[in-house]
Symmetry: C2
Subunit: 168 residues, 2 copies
Amino acid sequence: MLEKGTMAILELHSAPGHLIRRLQQIAVALFMAETRTFDLTPLQYAALLGIRENPGCDQTTLANYVALDRSTIADVVERLESKALIRRKPGARDRRTKRLDLTPAGRKLVSAASSAVGAVQEMILAPLKPAERVMFMDLLRRLVHLNNEHSRAPLRLNGEETRPRRTA
Amino acid sequence: MLEKGTMAILELHSAPGHLIRRLQQIAVALFMAETRTFDLTPLQYAALLGIRENPGCDQTTLANYVALDRSTIADVVERLESKALIRRKPGARDRRTKRLDLTPAGRKLVSAASSAVGAVQEMILAPLKPAERVMFMDLLRRLVHLNNEHSRAPLRLNGEETRPRRTA
DNA sequence: TACTGATCATCAGTATACTGTCAAGTTGTC
DNA sequence: GACAACTTGACAGTATACTGATGATCAGTA
């Protein structure tokens, strides 16, 4: 016999992992439905925001900012460039890097989409009462923050060191 | 000037959608790390559970049970079949369908993996205090349940009707 | 200066997760 | 039985989201 607490966690429809996946599905579906006219995906929007906050950054910095691995950000960046929303030019100081910047069209699109995106964020939480929304967001934020290092693509801001640089 | 409540929701790192995506990343990473020896993905495990609970079901029923669209479940099912964890045979009553069942190997693998999967579910919530975990899971469950219809692949159990069948 | 280790972007490969379309098969109605 | 409406699984196409490898470049040391 299993204990009460263990039972639930082994049932698919009560498992945290499963419910988290479904909530993500829902969030993406709401995003796509509400921002249809802008032809943007959640990640593309996040990348645009990231570039706006870090003008001239390289792809790795952007990947760390949106918490994504470099391969995936490369794909996203390519699509944004092909839509002429961003520009990519080789870095002068470090010629391995490609420096990223919004184009005027990109800047305009982010502004235009922002209120729809804000609406999506509220729609996700809409089923909860206001006090519950605050509680859920607090718990969610802490869960993500404290589990950050378990992610394969952890958030890193301002060139935080992952490991101390080798000194010997 | 924006109101206080609106400010946070527009900042990438506080946005519900972004945090949900990151928590899902973390959950998947933990799953893959803890179940490495079983060579299973979260979805493959969910599908195996779904087939075990619905022996002889068709792919659409399974898709509804794990809350996934039919195209994605088709890919998952194909991989499970190629690993000889499930069997697929044409339905006798309805020859469009493929009926799904676990093989002995599949049954054995689900059992073997279940404690590792259970451990993952607890690891996801580990940063929270026990009372907070209960609260988070309650809010998460309600959010998913009440937003179910917004998903492109909503959960449907036991052949729930999506729309009333045309009668005229 | 040559060497070592690290980093940057890219590539190939795998697995979700959807859209839309299609042929085959089923069901309800007349 | 004929017909229309629908369902089932398959397929092509797009976009995440990762792994592991590689070549180019950079930074620190001997």
